[in-house]
């Protein structure tokens, strides 16, 4: 908690936690004041929020929104992890705000509005390969670092949109991206290495895993893939026990998964904290600039109606 970048910011956040917590628990406590929910109902209290079940318990989930912005939603509805259920629930008005990932083409397609996160409640989410240490030979490292160096947030959105909107095959999209970025040339850098590459079950993660797999194959590694594995609870133990060797991860989420109390939020801090939090048999290779962050989104109509621009606006009193 005290490892935030700005010491004063940290103090304020800690203080706010105490204040808003008692303010919301006992309605007759009028000494809280401040900009948050002191008097009357907030906009958020009239909202139903949609997100994955883990959003309830994650440090940067509902707790983080309350701690950082004093935002408490009236109701939480469990949807999926930024997938079709969440998007459709928001689109059809079953939820008023939702946790969606920034690279999701559905945001643009539906004209959703991403609420700004000035206090960095959501940590940096750089795409980073997590690999079994013993398999990270120099050749494997160079190959994967080459990928991370070329991967950008815009490029990532583009990949997702090819798979999700244009329905292209993830492996074809992966090969296309590698050759576009001059990374598809055959070599022997990873010769003799045997790796099992895994991915979670959403299109972006599958494409990333395919990119790693195809690039390493081109460098002579013998690759097995286990794609579309369900949640992190399912695949992380496999990664830890060595039945998976390589996985495209997101620095912020994997960090908070490993260390519930982690508070780092800037890309470099998150990365450093992640290296420290990983078990000794795993390591994070160079992170890429590409980020796929958690966001809070609302529909355009909702944003206009309540004048919402940042997450903090949700804590304003409703009219």
């Amino acid at each position: 908690m005290t490892s935030r970048i700005l010491a004063s910011g940290a103090a304020a956040a800690v203080l706010a936690l105490g204040v808003t917590a008692c303010g919301s628990d006992s309605s007759d406590d009028t000494t809280t004041g401040g900009s948050s929910s002191a008097g009357g109902a907030t906009i958020a209290s009239k909202f139903i929020f949609g997100g994955a079940a883990e959003f309830k318990t994650r440090g940067d989930g509902l707790d983080g929104l309350k701690r950082n912005y004093g935002v408490e939603f009236g109701k939480f509805r469990v949807t999926d992890t930024g997938g079709p259920v969440t998007v459709n629930a928001l689109k059809n008005g079953q939820v008023d705000a939702a946790n969606v990932f920034s690279t999701d083409p559905a945001i643009k397609a539906n004209g959703f509005v991403i609420l700004a996160d000035p206090k960095s409640n959501f940590a940096a989410q750089n795409v980073v390969p997590i690999i079994t240490k013993s398999k990270a030979s120099d050749g494997v490292k160079t190959t994967l670092d080459g990928i991370s160096a070329k991967l950008t947030t815009a490029g990532l959105s583009d990949l997702v949109s090819k798979v999700q909107v244009d329905k292209e095959d993830p492996d074809a999209v992966a090969k296309g991206w590698l050759s576009q970025n001059g990374l598809s040339s055959a070599g022997t850098a990873a010769k003799g290495v045997k790796l099992t590459v895994g991915s979670a079950n959403f299109p972006e993660n599958v494409v990333l895993a395919e990119i790693y797999a195809e690039a390493l194959k081109a460098q002579g590694a013998s690759i097995k893939t286990k794609l579309n594995i369900g949640s992190r609870e399912k695949y992380y133990p496999a990664l830890k026990s060595g039945s998976l060797d390589l996985f495209p991860e997101y620095s912020g989420t994997i960090l908070t998964y490993l260390d519930k109390k982690a508070t780092a939020s800037k890309p470099d801090d998150v990365y450093t904290a992640l290296q420290a939090a990983l078990p000794s048999n795993l390591t994070a290779l160079n992170k890429s600039d590409a980020q796929d962050s958690d966001t809070v989104v609302v529909t355009k109509a909702t944003a206009d109606k309540f004048g919402l621009k940042t997450i903090a606006d949700l804590a304003k009193p409703a009219e």
Binding site: G83, P84, N110, V163, Q164, K167, A172, P203, N228, Y235
Partner: protein, 232 residues
């Protein structure tokens, strides 16, 4: 690969095109779906035979054996898939967790069938066999079991077809089978519904169930030649 406008259509009728575009992957899923459906029934039958025999031989064991194994069938499949690896100390991605869970269901369905099948053997037949000098074990395998085959086969048809549908559930936790086609179609269903992989999954599951069902029927005919020789 160039993507033809045709193959990206989200119309349910484009499942065939989707299959052609991804045939090697889809056939791989079909193959693992097939063995995942069949192997547990075979193992389940091997476990159900002694249990069913016990329930038949010692009548007082019939109610507890049948109700306990029957209850197993009510455990939700997803719970079983998730619980099997930690309980047995398997890796969370071990493909064995699915056949183990499905074996539980097959046993649940087959114990009653085996017991009832053995009960369907006419008492006269058993006595005649004993009179002819068959010892109990020999009599069981050479007389009672063959005569019980039609009843057991009826149960096997139910077990194998229900397995085809339960296996698909394991697709949602990342195990390779036709269920993954449903996850895929669902994941690609933003911004608009995308049906081809989902419809393809249904079509392949139904075809697989029909083929396996016919296989059991064929096996039943093969094992009971007397039924064709002497029309009853």
């Amino acid at each position: 690969m160039t993507v033809l406008a045709d193959s990206t259509s989200s119309s349910p009728l484009h499942f065939a095109q989707y299959f052609l575009d991804h045939s090697s992957e889809d056939l791989r899923l079909l193959w693992s779906h097939t063995w995942l459906s069949v192997v547990p029934v075979v193992i389940g039958l091997l476990i159900a035979l002694p249990l069913g025999w016990t329930a038949r031989r010692y009548r007082w064991t019939y109610p507890p054996i049948i109700s306990i194994t029957g209850l197993l069938y009510t455990i939700p499949s997803i719970a079983l898939f998730v619980m099997v690896p930690p309980l047995l100390g398997l890796d969370t991605l071990d493909p064995l967790q699915v056949p183990i869970a499905l074996t539980v269901y097959s046993v649940a369905l087959l114990v009653r069938v085996v017991a009832d099948g053995l009960a369907s053997v006419p008492e006269d037949t058993v006595q005649a066999a004993t009179a002819l000098g068959f010892r109990p074990v020999e009599r069981f395998f050479k007389v009672e079991l063959p005569i019980a085959v039609p009843v057991i086969a009826a149960g096997l048809r139910v077990a194998v077809v229900s397995n085809v549908s339960i296996v698909a559930v394991a697709g949602t936790i990342g195990l390779s089978n036709l269920g993954q086609l449903f996850t895929q179609g669902f994941q690609l269903s933003t911004p608009d519904a995308y049906y081809p992989p989902i419809v393809l999954g249904i079509v392949l599951c139904v075809l697989l169930a029909v083929v396996l069902d016919l296989a059991v029927v064929g096996l039943n005919r093969l094992l009971t030649p007397w039924r064709r020789a002497v029309p009853s």
